[in-house]
């Protein structure tokens, strides 16, 4: 299915999500969408306008929403639940663990406003541990798209998967990096650029900064391979095995160090072909208020800071 946006456009990732839901709504009458009083922020309101009979407003009651979705899935429906990631991955963790995953139910959980992108709302609203919590769970699949095109793909793909899926979305509009004809595949990562000096692995909308950083690095004659690790569970073992063990690897994510992509890859390599990794993440602290750009500055995620950190690390070695 052709993705809706052109490379270079600047689009909020939730627009890809919103469009995918409408697409699915037309194609499949089993698709239901549930929201917890945030449908305007999550873009599930687009679906609600088109398919009011299959949109379930759940009010500010996330735990109930997850289990209502469980009930719908038991009756053969394909429910997509949406709210901010921070209000579902933690607050409804037991419902996701003991009902959705334990019974392997066909419920999709879309955690919007992941990472630092919600900005000014501050640390209480920034999901920076969502990947860790969801990745922990047996039967769960975890995806973190880089842009609105990939979000579109992932949502369409999620509807075909029978079983629980968690998708992390972000708030800020970011540059479209994914081609119109790109097709997302579960457990497969995509190279966004090729180079021999280092490997940069990331997930989520931070990819836009990472790609900008590659341009700065190129000016300094450093050529890097960038890999979009949007399929976090399952992850792409084949691609990890293909990275030569002599090459420096940087893993960049808007997530706590504990339990994020860096930690997942560290565990994998430590049991297979140990190698030195540099993990670039939020560390072990909460977020705070500020514009997303200011936060990227403060937490070390702007393209300039990323490029400098990578350059310094490569020249030190």
């Amino acid at each position: 299915m052709i993705n809706p946006f052109n490379i270079g456009d600047v689009v909020p990732i939730r627009d890809g999500f919103g469009k995918a839901l409408i697409e699915l709504g037309h194609k499949n009458e089993k698709i239901f969408v549930l929201d917890a009083d945030l449908s305007k922020s999550t873009r599930s309101n687009w679906f609600a306008e088109k398919f009011p009979n299959r949109f379930i407003e759940c009010g500010i009651a996330e735990q109930n929403m997850i289990d209502v979705a469980a009930g719908l899935s038991l009756m053969g429906k394909i429910p997509f639940t949406t709210t901010y990631g921070v209000f579902v991955a933690g607050r409804a963790f037991d419902q996701i663990r003991n009902t959705i995953c334990f019974s392997n139910l066909n419920v999709k959980i879309i955690g919007s406003h992941g990472g630092l992108s919600v900005g000014a709302d501050g640390g209480s609203h920034q999901a920076i541990e969502d990947i860790a919590l969801m990745n922990l769970l047996p039967n769960m699949k975890v995806f973190s798209p880089v842009d609105a095109n990939e979000a579109f793909q992932i949502i369409i793909k999620a509807s075909d998967i029978v079983g629980p899926v968690f998708v992390r979305l972000a708030r800020e509009a970011t540059e479209i990096l994914i081609r119109k004809d790109f097709e997302f595949q579960v457990g497969r990562w995509e190279k966004l650029s090729e180079g021999n000096d280092a490997y940069l692995l990331f997930h989520g909308t931070i990819g836009a900064e990472v790609m900008k950083a590659t341009k700065i690095l190129l000016e300094k004659k450093i050529e890097v391979t960038v890999i979009n690790c949007s399929s976090i569970k399952p992850f792409d073992k084949k691609m990890l095995n293909e990275i030569p063990s002599s090459k420096p690897i940087f893993i960049i994510e808007e997530h706590l160090e504990a339990g994020g992509l860096g930690s997942i890859i560290s565990t994998y390599y430590s049991q297979n072909s140990p190698r030195k990794l540099e993990l670039i993440n939020i560390g072990d602290r909460f977020g705070e208020s500020g514009s997303p750009t200011e936060l990227y500055q403060k937490f070390g995620f702007t393209s300039e800071i990323l490029a400098e950190r990578i350059r310094a690390s490569l020249t030190d070695n």
């Binding site: 009010g59 109930n64 289990d67 469980a70 719908l72 419902q95 009902t99």
Partner: protein
């Protein structure tokens, strides 16, 4: 259709078997299983449309054991209904058994959804009942909750939801045995009137004697006529049927000894 004397005999047999499988396992939850026996019997052997030979029959009524710790009761009922052979019962709580300590829908036929973490069944039932309405299907969704379970905030989220969406195809039973683990429901977290709380949320509220099959059946038939979701608050006795277990919080989650089992079975002759 079975008459009420037959149902009472079935209930007595269920009590015996429930204690036997808990004894055989060496652990489990007798108190809250015994208090729910007559509700379970009325549902599975009289009220509900279901087909043990075709557990996934799409027009069946649904039952969710939200108080999943009453698993031994559910297993005995499912077995006596014909969902699986009798020899499974001796595997309860043992390695590789389909009869897990709490109901697991992936391992045992007749279980709609896994439970064990309290407070979730009503929400799941809401999703099912809503789906049935969207599809114009006539099945009823039944749930069974403990009174202690009502401490969970999520229950009240679901109570709001069911009333808002007018889910009159949902009937929730509360096993009001006035006990939970740490003591009486009054001591642990006093709720005062459960009736008034459900009424305030715009539910159809009924009460019954939870050990009178006639009363349970009549109130359920009445509930089915409601235009609102219904709750049937069933006054019960925790440990019902075994004198030394009745109204004793300590029998919530422990297996009887061999002698205690013997005494209990004599009382249930």
């Amino acid at each position: 259709m079975k008459n009420f004397i037959e149902l009472e005999n079935i209930a007595k047999q269920i009590r015996r078997k429930t204690l036997e499988i808990i004894f055989n396992a060496g652990s489990g939850h007798p108190g809250g299983s015994l208090s729910s026996v007559d509700i379970g019997t009325s549902l599975f052997f009289y009220l509900m449309n279901h087909d043990p030979n075709n557990p996934n029959w799409k027009d069946r009524d649904r039952f969710i054991l939200s108080k999943g710790h009453a698993a031994p009761l559910l297993y005995v009922i499912l077995q006596m209904s014909g969902y699986f052979p009798e020899n499974w019962l001796s595997t309860f709580r043992k390695i590789n058994s389909p009869l897990q300590g709490h109901p697991n829908s992936l391992k045992c036929p007749g279980i709609e959804v896994s439970t064990g973490s309290l407070g979730q069944g009503l929400s799941i039932a809401c999703g099912m009942a809503l789906s049935l309405k969207k599809d114009n299907m006539k099945s009823i969704v039944y749930t069974l909750h403990g009174d202690g379970e009502l401490n969970e905030g999520q229950i009240w989220e679901a109570v709001m939801f069911a009333a808002h969406y007018k889910l009159n195809n949902l009937i929730a039973f509360i096993d009001k045995n006035d006990l939970q683990i740490d003591g009486s429901t009054d001591e642990v977290m006093s709720m005062k009137s459960i009736e008034e709380k459900f009424s305030a949320f715009n539910w159809n509220v009924l009460t019954c004697d939870g050990h009178s099959i006639t009363d349970i059946v009549n109130k359920t038939i009445e509930a089915k006529k409601s235009i609102k979701p219904s709750v049937i608050i069933a006054k019960t006795i925790k440990g019902k049927g075994v004198s030394f277990m009745e109204n004793v919080a300590g029998w919530h989650g422990k297996s009887p000894s061999k002698i205690e089992l013997q005494l209990a079975l004599e009382e249930l002759e």
